[in-house]
C-alpha cells in the first residue's frame, strides 16, 4: 500500500512542487509588501495567496481525478493493474494519497494564512484599509446560511469542513470515472452519463448532509459534523468504487 501511495505521489508531485513554488513567491511578495509598506504589492500578494489557497487544493484534487482517468483508459494502466494489488489497494492508495495531499495542503495554507493575518494585524495601524477589507470579508462568510465564528477554532472547523467536502467531491468523481471505464465503456454518451451521475450523487449527498445537520445549533459543531459526514460518504464511495473495479474493470 505504501509503495502504491509512493507512486501515486510520484505521478503528481511535480504539480505540487509548482504550487509550492508559486506560493513561496507570493509569500515573499507579501512580506516585502508588508514590511516595505508597498500597498499594491501587498494587495496583489494577498489576492494571489487567497487564490492559491483555494485553487491549490482544487488543483490537487482535479489532478488526481485526471490521473485515475489516465490509469483506467490508457496503456499506462497496465503498469498499475499488472502488479499483484487488489482494486481495494490500488484505489485505496489513490484515495489516501489524494486525501492526505488535500488535508496537508489545506492545513499548510491555513497555517500560512493565520500567520500572515497575525503579521498583518500587528501592522494594522499603518495598513488599516486592507485589514478592514479582510475583516469585512471574513464577517460576511456563512455556511448553511449561518455566520461563521471568526476565531481560530471557527476557521479551523470551516476549513476542515471544506476540505472534507472537497475530498468527497474528488472521490465521487473517482466513482464516476470508474463507472465510465468499467460499466459504460464503449457505450454512447458515456462521458455525459458519468458526469450526470457525478452531479446527481453530489447533490444527493449534499442533501443528506443538509438534513442531517439542520438541527445542530452550534455552527462549529455543524461544520465538524458536516465534514465527518463527508468523510463517511468518502469511505462508502471508496468501497463501492473498489468493488466495481474488482469485478468489472478491464484496462
Amino acid at each position: 500500500m505504501l509503495k502504491l501511495m509512493k507512486y501515486e505521489f510520484r505521478k503528481t508531485w511535480f504539480t505540487k512542487l509548482i504550487l509550492l513554488g508559486i506560493t513561496a513567491v507570493a509569500e515573499i511578495a507579501f512580506l516585502i509588501g508588508l514590511y516595505l509598506e508597498k500597498e499594491t504589492t501587498l494587495g496583489l500578494s494577498v489576492l494571489l495567496l487567497v487564490f492559491l489557497a483555494l485553487g491549490g487544493v482544487l488543483v490537487i484534487g482535479l489532478e488526481s481525478v485526471v490521473t485515475l482517468h489516465r490509469d483506467l483508459n490508457t496503456k499506462q494502466g497496465y503498469m498499475l493493474f499488472m502488479t499483484p494489488n487488489t482494486s481495494y489497494s490500488v484505489l485505496g492508495a489513490k484515495v489516501l494519497e489524494c486525501s492526505l495531499s488535500i488535508l496537508i495542503g489545506g492545513a499548510f495554507y491555513f497555517a500560512l494564512g493565520s500567520l500572515d493575518l497575525t503579521l498583518l494585524f500587528a501592522k494594522s495601524g499603518e495598513l488599516n484599509r486592507l485589514w478592514e477589507i479582510i475583516q469585512d470579508f471574513l464577517s460576511r462568510m456563512t455556511f448553511a446560511n449561518r455566520a461563521l465564528i471568526i476565531d481560530m477554532e471557527g476557521m479551523a472547523s470551516f476549513v476542515f469542513c471544506l476540505l472534507a467536502g472537497w475530498i468527497l467531491t474528488v472521490i465521487t468523481a473517482y466513482f464516476a470515472v470508474v463507472i465510465s471505464a468499467a460499466l459504460l465503456n464503449g457505450k454512447r454518451f458515456n462521458g455525459l452519463l458519468s458526469f450526470v451521475l457525478f452531479l446527481a450523487l453530489s447533490w444527493f449527498i449534499g442533501w443528506v448532509a443538509r438534513i442531517a445537520t439542520a438541527s445542530i445549533p452550534s455552527i462549529n459543531v455543524l461544520l465538524l459534523v458536516d465534514g465527518a459526514i463527508s468523510l463517511a460518504f468518502t469511505a462508502v464511495m471508496y468501497v463501492i468504487t473498489a468493488i466495481i473495479m474488482e469485478r468489472k474493470l478491464s484496462v
Binding site: R10, Y78, N85, G186, K248, S250
Partner: protein, 232 residues
C-alpha cells in the same frame, strides 16, 4: 498450468475471444499465432488479469486468475506502458517494489546485453530500445509463466538473437512461455508448440516437431494453410 475454459470476451458487439478452451502445460514454449485482431492479445490480457472475461474462466494452477496469479505470471504487452517520468532504473525499481521474484542482477545483465543504460529516460527511447527494455524488465522476473506479446516487434535482426537467447534462458521444465509474434520465422526453432487463433476462435494446437516429421510443414507453412485463403 494455465487454462482457459470456454473463455469469451466481447467488446460491445464485437467478440474478440470466442469460447476458447486452451490449456498450456509447463515445460513448453508456445507460439501464439493469428492475424491482427484475431484475439491473441485479448486472451493474454485475460490471463494477466487485466481484462475480465464476458463469460468462461481463466485458471492458473486450477484457480481463477487473481492477485496471486499476477505474482507468478509475467506479462509483457505490445504497447509501451511505463510512466513517462521513468528512467530505465526507475522501471527496474518499480518491478522490484511490486514483484518479489524480480532480480536486479538479472535486470542489469540483460540491460548490458541489450545495450541499455540505467540513466536513459523511457520517454526518449527509440521504439527498438523500448522493446528491449520491456523484455529485459519482464524477463528479470523469475515467474512461472511468461507471456510476451510481440517480443520481436521493432527489434533489429541482431538484437533478435539476444531476445531469443533471453527467452530460451528462461525456458525450463517448470515454466510456460507464451509468445505471440507476426515474425513467425523468429519463433520456429525456439517454440515447440503452436497455437493458431482465428477471429477469436481456437483453430488448433500443434506440436511443431511432430508436424515437421509427419507433414514436412513448418509453422509458417501451416500458417499459410490456415490463413492463406481467408486473407486477401
Amino acid at each position: 498450468m494455465l487454462e482457459s475454459k470456454e473463455i469469451t470476451k466481447a467488446f460491445g458487439s464485437k467478440t474478440a475471444v470466442d469460447h476458447i478452451s486452451l490449456s498450456l502445460e509447463k515445460g513448453h514454449v508456445y507460439a501464439m499465432l493469428g492475424p491482427n485482431g484475431s484475439g491473441k492479445t485479448t486472451w493474454m490480457k485475460m490471463a494477466a488479469g487485466l481484462i475480465k472475461p464476458t463469460s468462461g474462466q481463466m485458471l492458473f494452477e486450477g484457480q481463477p486468475v487473481n492477485i496471486d496469479s499476477r505474482r507468478k505470471i509475467a506479462y509483457m504487452s505490445t504497447e509501451p506502458f511505463f510512466y513517462a517520468w521513468m528512467t530505465v532504473k526507475d522501471v527496474g525499481a518499480y518491478y522490484a517494489d511490486f514483484f518479489d521474484d524480480f532480480s536486479w542482477d538479472g535486470y542489469h545483465a540483460m540491460l548490458r546485453q541489450m545495450e541499455l543504460e540505467e540513466s536513459m529516460k523511457t520517454k526518449t527511447l527509440s521504439s527498438g530500445m523500448m522493446a528491449k527494455l520491456k523484455i529485459a524488465v519482464t524477463m528479470a522476473r523469475d515467474a512461472k509463466i511468461y507471456m510476451l506479446d510481440e517480443p520481436f516487434n521493432g527489434i533489429d535482426l541482431l538484437a533478435r538473437d539476444n531476445i531469443r537467447r533471453c527467452i530460451l534462458e528462461h525456458a525450463d521444465e517448470n515454466k510456460v512461455l507464451l509468445l505471440s509474434s507476426h515474425l513467425v520465422e523468429e519463433m520456429e526453432a525456439i517454440a515447440d508448440k503452436a497455437v493458431f487463433i482465428h477471429q477469436g476462435k481456437l483453430m488448433e494446437v500443434d506440436d511443431l516437431e511432430e508436424m515437421r516429421v509427419e507433414r514436412g510443414a513448418s509453422m509458417a507453412d501451416r500458417y499459410r494453410e490456415i490463413y492463406g485463403h481467408t486473407e486477401e
